[in-house]
Amino acid sequence: MAAKIIVTAVGLLLVVAVNAYFLGPRRRKAPRQ
């Protein structure tokens, strides 16, 4: 049971992290011409 909880928690955390990393707000964007 403990393993399931850990895997679930880590999994969900990873999903949030992946999406935040790739799709999150950018600090600064290169100016476009």
Binding site: K4, T8, G11, V18, L23, G24, R26, A30, Q33
Partner: protein
């Protein structure tokens, strides 16, 4: 800065920038030291603050040649990396030429650091070999890039075919047994995955470090999943034994997609290699040597050795070497290659001549005023280079989709793992791991590599049928978004050559008589005005007689005997010389001149016979072309160096409402830049060398095929026939192609997306079905077939 007041003004300006904690300005050293929070502000806003305060900041610029820039996201990556360097003010990457232009504060950062920053994101910076022209260096790198890609595609293709037939024994029963061995397939797939496809890993890693995912990420993640899963199955076949999942390898999936994508890139690289040819063509216009008068003798010297003040001699038929002012001699000079104006311009002492123009008939001596990089031609070359350097590439559709698709797929895979681990049957960890990988494999869209290139190839072929030559897939993708079309007047909307517009007979003569005499005298003339008169007479059904005693009075007109009568055709100066009185026709000639028309006076046997007015007339299809563009929702603008009145007369005829007149030769690019700054997507249509900077500056440069080579090299699209209707056809073609690409991308992803739930095991509880090699190959085949046939549909489009 000259006083303490100035220093404090700069300080105040800097402190007002959000994020600045401290700002100190040293009046003696002209230095500002600023302590700021990089999260809130950057060097750019600090410089802006100084400039707003009324002062300037010393900024240095550097240009670097970078290899390996293959997509819009590379551009973003390099620009972001450079702008992250403290001291870099502006960074602009040119996708087409691989050139990076950087403005930086020389006391905060140096070129070595800039180089390192570019190298840290995975690109190679090239040194320009000593004495090598920049254009040559560019071309050398482009060619190498193409050759490397071609080799990769050839070797990869060979291996991929072997892997493919080895993996499909059902389809290829004649394949020898050893090729079906998993270990052999693995051995064949490994070089494809890491050597040939290694660039995907490098690019994906660089993208990852900049928090983006692009097509490279998708390819790297997808093929890696297939490859490593297959390797695991090959090494530990018993691993899957307990799960009942079919034991199969996906080496073919990984190899085929790597090769397909590289093939698409190879086609693009070949198209890109042609961009720098505009510069080469421009440089070719410059004569290699010049004849100068030194110590009283004519000496031929290299054009680079001509100095300001030299007396330069130009013989008939030669190109003018540099810019200058005529001091001796009289001639006409063909300036069409620079101005697009077809009529030769008369030159005498005091007139300006421009380098690269052609001296028609007289010997001219001029004083060199501008040499080397100051000449008009060098300025045009520089403008073209600059415009190439600042042009922002479009972001490819496939990259934009990948940016979202990658995190979504990874999330789906993780959730699959969690679900199987939490709720799945035993052995839980094995199932969870298997299905995690399965989701990644099925998500790898094999037809992605086909989606854009096939549509672009069909679109280009379709264009070629209509006489529309499209330089690259990128041009074709850009054209659909165009909302403003700027026409250069001469040679684009107009014929670019004079035509007779009015015939005004003097008392005692008829229109036909005037025309017949003039045409008779001009028959055989090589002057554009003479040819126009003959054309008009022929169109009116008057067959001009061959004249006797034809004599060209250079720069003034002609004299000939027609039907036994002495005919004189020429300028007002010519008839004035002959002492002929044209009465009120002289006044009418003045009015015609205001309309931008040139007058040719005709005299027969020493009597005024009439007046012919000539002007560059509108092309027959120009009004309908403009109307079609307007109907498509595009704004049409006409650009010309003519004065407002002449310009508006032509524009009215073509149905154009907005005219920018009296544009200086170098100002066309600026007009285009201004329109782009308003947020418009601008297409520029032109034909002359002086249009080249504007053609490059525009989002889409369209050259008229009857114009100069330079214009064609500078453009994205060339209309061979010179028909302005080609512009709307090109935009329409682009719209259709982009629509097809979008549909293709949908089909490329559709079957895979449908496959994801299956791979995730949604069907397992009911049917005990997991990712089956059948499903994976069906998804691959269906999407490829859908994409290719959808692209072929474009051939039937009516444009």
């Amino acid at each position: 800065m000259t006083c303490a007041g100035c220093a404090s003004r700069v300080e105040r300006g800097l402190r007002e920038v959000p994020g600045v904690r401290e700002a100190n300005v040293n009046l003696a050293t002209n230095r500002a030291t600023v302590l700021f929070d990089p999260a809130l502000t950057g060097t750019g806003s600090l410089i802006e603050a100084v400039r707003n305060a009324g002062y300037d900041v010393a900024v240095a610029s550097a240009g670097l040649q970078v290899e390996g820039i293959s997509c819009a996201s590379c551009v973003l990556k390099i620009e972001t990396a450079l702008l992250d360097l403290p001291g870099v003010v502006r960074a602009s990457v040119n996708l087409a030429t691989g050139k990076v232009a950087v403005d930086y504060l020389p006391n905060a950062v140096d070129v070595a650091r800039i180089r390192k920053a570019i190298e840290s994101v995975g690109y190679r910076v090239h040194d320009l070999a000593e004495g090598e022209a920049e254009a040559d260096a560019e071309r050398r790198i482009m060619e190498r890039e193409y050759r490397v890609l071609r080799a990769k595609v050839l070797w990869g293709g060979l291996l991929a075919v072997l892997i493919f037939v080895g993996s499909m024994p059902g389809w290829f029963p004649w394949v020898p047994a050893f090729l079906r061995n998993f270990f052999v397939l693995w051995a064949l797939a490994t070089p494809v995955q890491f050597a040939i496809g290694g660039q995907f890993y490098r690019s994906a890693w660089a993208a990852f470090r900049h928090r983006t995912a692009d097509m490279n990420t998708l390819i790297a993640v997808g093929t890696s999943a297939a490859y490593f899963y297959s390797a695991a199955v090959t090494l530990f076949p018993s691993l899957l034994g307990s799960t009942g999942v079919a034991r199969d390898v996906y080496f073919d999936t990984a190899a085929v997609i790597v090769v397909l994508i590289l093939f698409g890139r190879m086609l693009e690289a070949r198209a890109k290699g042609r961009t720098s040819e505009a510069i080469v063509a421009l440089m070719g216009l410059r004569p290699a040597t010049a004849r100068v008068l030194r110590d009283g003798a004519e000496r031929e010297i290299p054009v680079d050795d001509v100095i300001v003040g030299d007396a330069v001699v130009v013989r008939p038929g030669e190109r003018v070497a540099v810019d200058g002012t005529v001091v001796d001699g009289r001639s006409s000079v063909d300036e069409s290659m620079i101005t697009g104006e077809s009529l030769p311009v008369d030159k005498g002492p005091g007139d300006e001549v421009v380098g690269a123009t052609i001296n028609k008939w007289g010997r001219l001596v001029f004083r060199a005023r501008k040499v080397g990089k100051d000449t008009a031609l060098a300025q045009i070359i520089k403008l073209v280079q600059e415009a190439q350097g600042t042009k922002a590439p479009i972001q490819r559709l496939a990259d934009r989709i990948a940016a979202y698709f990658v995190p979504v797929v990874i999330s789906a895979a993780i959730l699959t793992f969690v679900a199987w681990f939490d709720f799945g049957p035993a052995p839980r960890l094995t199932f969870a791991l298997l299905n995690f990988v399965a989701v990644m494999i099925i998500a790898c869209p094999c037809a992605l590599g086909l989606a854009t290139p096939t549509a672009v190839m069909v679109g280009m072929g379709k264009g070629a049928e209509r006489g529309i030559l499209i330089k690259s897939g990128e041009s074709l993708e850009t054209a659909h978004a165009i909302d403003t079309v700027v026409f250069d007047k001469t040679g684009t909307l107009t014929e670019g050559r004079p035509d007779v517009t009015d015939v005004l007979p003097a008392p005692g003569f008829t229109v036909d008589e005037v025309l017949a005499f003039a045409a008779g005298a001009e028959k055989g003339s090589e002057h554009p005005l003479g040819q126009a008169i003959v054309r008009r007479a022929e169109a009116a059904g008057l067959a001009p007689e061959t004249p006797a005693g034809f004599r060209a009075l250079e720069g003034l007109g002609v004299e000939a005997t027609v039907k036994g009568r002495k005919v004189l055709v020429g300028s007002q100066a010519l008839v004035g010389h002959a002492g002929l009185d044209f009465g009120s026709l002289v006044l009418q000639a003045g009015d015609l001149a205001l309309e931008g028309k040139t007058s040719a006076f005709v005299a027969v046997d020493g009597r005024a016979a009439g007046l012919l007015a000539l002007a560059d007339t509108l092309k027959g299809t120009a009004p309908s072309a403009v109307a079609r563009l307007k109907k498509m929702g595009l704004e049409v603008i006409m650009l010309t160096g003519d004065d407002r009145r002449t310009a508006q007369a032509i524009a009215r005829g073509a149905g154009i409402d907005r005219v920018v007149a009296q544009v200086l030769p170098g100002g066309k690019a600026e007009v285009v830049r201004g329109l782009r700054a308003e947020g418009r997507k601008v297409a520029m249509v032109g034909d002359g060398i002086n249009d080249a900077p504007a053609l490059v500056e525009a989002d889409l440069g369209i050259a008229i095929g009857t114009g100069t080579d330079v214009a064609m090299e500078s453009s994205d699209i060339t209309l061979i026939s010179g028909d302005p209707e080609g512009v709307s056809a090109a935009v329409e073609l682009s719209r259709r192609t982009v629509r097809t690409i979008r549909q293709n991308l949908f089909w490329a992803f559709f079957y895979n997306v449908v496959g994801i739930p299956v791979a995730a095991g949604v069907l397992y509880p009911f049917l005990h079905v997991l990712l089956n090699p059948m499903i994976a190959s069906a998804a691959m085949a269906f999407s490829s077939v859908s994409v290719v046939s959808n692209s072929l549909r474009l051939r039937r489009a009516r444009i």
